[in-house]
């Protein structure tokens, strides 16, 4: 029979495994969820039906013991709620209607059908709310299956309230096999599926989940509470049942006891009356004793002394001398006429048992008659034989009466005359205490037994323990079942509550936190279901926001520092144009646009003596601070060497040696250096791996200066660089650039390229260096479009004019308002000497007035140097002061459209200078503000 249940159980497991495998198949997986659920539900429903038949279950008479409930559980827990419900409904419906087909018992019809449907719903609900729509571990499955079966058992009671005994007999038989069978079925299915999934427990043992710890302890507490409650109530009920049974047995025995006593008393009284009558007629006591077959006939006088007896030895015995005999003295007081004593040892000799009866005599004294057991036994035997015949104790209990030799005397009993041991009552009556309840075996079954000894008979009552404990067992079963259900519901409820109140919230917070730690600092934790979580959320949020502030501050500081680095790098390159306003023999312009951060490009130019211009462009490998620092080093070294008058090739050869020293970072720099003799136009140059510059001849020819290049600087020690020379004519131009220009990339990944650069330079025509640089920059920007710029863009252009330079004169003034007139006079006198028209002098004078008064008022400088030079084309004036750095070209323009009342004072001066002069340039050099203005003549 166990085999049948196991086969049904494993049918479930096999189906679960099969369906699980199918779910992995893409073709099955493609089916909609609900279709799959219906398929699963129906298949499990079929298994449920199979389990319910006599093929899959065990017939126990009126009901089939089965594992039907396992099917909806497997479907619901492993595959999803809907399939569980469908399987439950199918299994339940079959069970309900099977009764009408005559293939299932009606007794548990409703209970079984209902519980199977319920189990389907329970599985669905548990999966959804307790297991987050995932299948549970096998241990949970086994627990759930067992509890569901217990619910099933309880349902049998509930639906059969009017016939609890039958229900109980079913439950007693079914409970263990069905609970275990269903547990095995669901457990096996879950284990099989887990094995197929190759689930490995990856959990760290030292870090239990809260829910696990919680469940563990909750389970421990609930089991302890459950066991304690049931042990206590079981103990209590056992005790109560015992007491109740004892009292039932004892009451019955008491009744029989009293009946026997009454019968024997009555019989003796009859005898004594007859003997008294005959004695009064003069019959001798000896004859009377013989005639009535009594052992003693005593005559006691009014003094209580035996005066006549059939027994010589008692003659003269004083009745008051013994406790037993003294009881008869009441007859002498005249209150009572008769006295019957029960069977007991005599006062005269306590080994002799007698029953005495006495009647008062008319002339005082009384006659006493003594019986021994055999004598009165004959008198009452018929009565005693009948007294217990129809008596029952409870349903199965009974009373037997035996004589002193423990032979049954109960009449009409088939065991009459037999010793109680021979009929199966294994009682050691002789050594037991009368009135106490003890356990004996009757025909092998344990019975509760008690007895009483009356008039030489043992009245023995027995009752089966099973009957005595029936109510107790029934209520214990129901209590245990109810307890399991209640505690399970409690467990699930508390678990669910904790999950909702604590675990879900913690999970929510953790999710947000992990997003925050992965960089999204803008998220906030917002769990407000209760005060504790609200305050935790607030704390986390304020921590994150503080952190965010710190990060923002740090980022701002780094940005600021990088910005400073960029500033320093940029300020290391000459950035004021025209750099040599007094020189008209060449024009030079350079621009550098760093891509986001500090880069490695640089340009430089400087006069060597009065007649040579050195200019270079370079690109350091890499980017960022290291490249910037290497660039500064390279720039300084090259400048030092070039200014010492060395030829370009020698500059590179020596610079390479110096840059190779301690170049652990392995950085290098490409560089193109030219030194132009301004009076002859002879250009000497050297190239260390840099892009060839473009030369534009005054006749319109444009070409790359394709001289053979040397290795990059700092690339390898001991390199010798080649010297190259070329001749520039008046009007020739040279354009230098870095690869940021030619390798600028547009969104379709095309390079700007050398060809395009050459064409653009050609297209620009004969324009000044500044305009050429702006033109190319704009062209590159248009080419790149929306694509991001990754490289620095650096370029430098020179036009060789071949003319002389402007002679400058200078004056040093104190930084005060009185100096304004001095400065104006200094310049206007110089201009007047050159016969420059008054109108221009006035304009220049206004500009000087504005600039000098501003310096005197606001800069805090100690002195102002005014330099001025005039040539054919223009007048150049330069103001140098050691005051606070201030760049007037950055000043906001005033709104000149406002009415008189809206006008604010200030701001007009610089604006006027800008408007009236042709050039206004500012630079900060060697701790001095250098402001240059130019006015074309």
């Amino acid at each position: 029979m166990v085999i049948k249940l196991l086969v049904s159980a494993f049918c479930n497991a096999a189906l679960a495994a099969g369906l699980y495998a199918a779910e992995k198949k893409t073709s099955y997986k493609k089916l909609p969820y609900l279709v799959r659920q219906v398929i699963t539900g129906v298949l499990f429903g079929i298994i449920a039906i199979y389990s319910s038949t006599s093929a899959g279950g065990v017939d126990i008479g009126g009901a089939i013991m089965n594992v039907r409930d396992a099917s909806p559980l497997c479907a619901g827990l492993i595959f999803g709620g809907p399939s569980g419900i469908i399987a439950g409904v199918i299994g339940g419906s079959y069970r309900y209607f099977a009764v009408y087909l005559g293939i299932a018992g009606a007794y548990t019809q409703i209970a079984c059908a209902l519980s199977t449907v319920m189990v389907g719903f329970i599985a669905a609900a548990l999966r959804k709310f307790m297991f987050d729509d995932k299948k549970p571990t096998w241990s949970y499955g086994v627990g759930i299956a067992m509890i569901c079966e217990i619910l099933h058992m309880l349902m049998i009671f509930v639906t059969n309230m009017e016939d609890v005994a039958t229900a109980f007999s079913f439950v007693k038989k079914c409970t263990l096999p069905m609970v275990l069978g269903n547990g095995v079925a669901v457990g096996a299915a879950l284990i099989l599926v887990s094995l197929m999934k190759k689930e490995r427990r990856r959990r760290n043992k030292s870090q239990k989940q809260i829910s696990q710890t919680f469940q563990c302890w909750l389970l421990v507490c609930i089991v302890i509470a459950f066991v304690a409650t049931n042990i206590f109530s079981s103990f209590l009920q056992t005790k109560m049942s015992e007491i109740q049974t004892e009292s039932i047995i004892q009451t019955n025995i008491e009744d029989v006891h009293q009946d026997v006593l009454d019968a024997s008393d009555e019989s003796l009284l009859n005898k004594v009356t007859q003997i008294r009558e005959e004695y009064l007629r003069g019959e001798s006591v000896t004859k009377l004793a013989e005639k009535y077959n009594v052992i003693e006939v005593n005559i006691i006088d009014s003094k209580g002394i035996i005066v006549d007896t059939n027994n010589e030895q008692y003659l003269g015995y004083v009745m008051a001398s013994g406790e037993q005999s003294a009881e008869f003295m009441v007859l002498l007081k005249g209150d009572k006429k008769e006295y019957i004593q029960d069977y007991r040892p005599t006062s005269y000799d306590n080994k002799t048992y007698r029953k005495y009866g006495a009647l008062a005599l008319p002339d005082g004294g009384f006659i006493q008659v003594g019986y021994d057991a055999s004598q009165f036994g004959e008198d009452i035997e018929i009565f005693v034989g009948k007294v217990a015949k129809n008596r029952h104790i409870g349903n199965e209990g009974f009373i037997v009466i035996c004589d002193e030799r423990l032979n049954i005397v109960t009449k009409n009993s088939e065991d009459y005359g037999k010793n109680i041991k021979t009929v199966g009552i294994e009682a050691d009556i002789e050594n037991a205490v009368s009135g106490e309840v003890f356990e004996v075996d009757v025909k092998g079954e344990p019975h509760l037994c008690t007895f009483s000894f009356v008039e030489g008979y043992y009245v023995i009552g027995v009752m089966p323990v099973s009957e005595a404990m029936y109510m107790k067992n029934l209520s214990l079963y129901v209590n245990v079942f109810m307890g399991i259900i209640i505690f399970s519901v409690l467990f699930i409820l508390i678990y669910f509550l904790i999950k909702r109140v604590v675990i879900d919230n913690i999970r929510k917070i953790n999710q947000t936190l992990s997003q925050i730690t992965s960089g999204n600092l803008n998220l906030t934790v917002d769990v407000r279901t209760n005060e504790e979580f609200a305050s935790l959320s607030d704390d986390i949020n304020s921590t994150v926001s503080t952190l965010k502030d710190y990060i923002a501050q740090a980022a701002a500081r780094i940005d600021q520092e990088l910005e400073y680095a960029k500033e320093i790098q940029l300020s290391a390159m000459p950035s004021v144009f025209p750099p040599y306003p007094e020189r008209r023999d060449f024009m030079i312009y350079a621009l550098m646009r760093a891509a986001k951060e500090v880069g490695g490009d640089f340009y430089d130019f400087y006069l060597i003596g009065d007649n040579q211009l050195a200019f270079l462009i370079a690109d350091v490998s890499g980017k960022g601070i290291p490249a910037a620092m290497f660039m500064m080093k390279a720039k300084t070294i090259i400048k030092d060497l070039a200014e010492s008058g060395l030829e370009p090739d020698e500059v590179f050869t020596r610079a390479n040696e110096k840059l190779c020293e301690n170049n652990d970072a392995g950085m290098f720099v490409t560089c193109w250096l030219g030194i132009l003799n301004l009076s002859t136009g002879a250009l000497k140059f050297a190239n260390a791996g840099h892009n060839p510059p473009v030369v534009c001849r005054n006749n319109g020819e444009i070409e790359y200066i394709k001289a053979r290049s040397g290795l990059v600087l700092a690339g390898m020690e001991g390199i010798k660089y080649r010297k190259n020379e070329m001749q520039l004519e008046v009007g020739d131009r040279i354009y230098l650039y870095t690869d940021g220009v030619t390798e600028a990339t547009n969104s379709s990944n095309e390079l700007y390229g050398e060809e395009r650069l050459k064409n653009m330079i050609s297209a620009a025509g004969e324009i000044e260096p500044e305009k050429l640089c702006a033109y190319i920059e704009k062209s590159v920007d248009e080419f790149v479009g929306e694509a991001p710029q990754f490289d620095d863009i650096t370029m430098l252009a020179i036009t060789y004019n071949g003319h002389g330079k402007i002679e400058m004169e200078s004056v040093e003034l104190e930084s005060k308002l009185d100096s304004v007139a001095l400065a104006v006079d200094f310049v206007s006198n110089l201009m007047a000497k050159r016969q420059i028209e008054q109108k221009l002098i006035s304009k220049v004078s206004i500009a000087i007035d504005e600039i000098v008064s501003n310096i005197a008022r606001y800069s805090g400088a100690s002195k102002i140097i005014v330099e001025t030079g005039v040539c054919e084309e223009k007048v150049v004036i330069r103001f140098l002061d050691d005051g606070k750095p201030y760049n007037p070209t950055h000043q906001k323009e005033p709104d000149i459209t406002l009415s008189a009342s809206e006008r604010q004072e200030g701001g007009l001066g610089v604006y006027m200078v800008k408007k009236m002069m042709d050039v206004l340039k500012y630079q900060y050099l060697d701790g001095q503000n250098v402001l240059t203005i130019e006015k074309n003549l």
């Binding site: 007139a821 006035s842 304009k843 004078s845 008189a900 009342s901 004072e905 001066g909 006027m912």
Partner: protein, 98 residues
Amino acid sequence: MNIEKIIENEKVTLKLEGRLDTQTAPQFEQEIDGIEEGCKELILDMNALAYVSSAGLRVILKAQKYMNTKGAMKLIGVNENVMEVFEITGFLDILTIE
């Protein structure tokens, strides 16, 4: 610079001579501050004025604002240089120039 002041009833004429710049503007400002309460018309004669710097403009603006509450202010004899300054700075729109 030289400033000549002529008072005719409610009309005050200031003849400005030389440069109205940073140094001379305070002097001009004193004159403006010293204009009588009863003055309804202020004439600035600029025939002899070489040029005006922003410091001068400041005082002219002040005078204009003051006269806006009293009556009227008029500039006469404005030369090309000064006119250019007025033009650049948008003062043309504010001032009345004859």
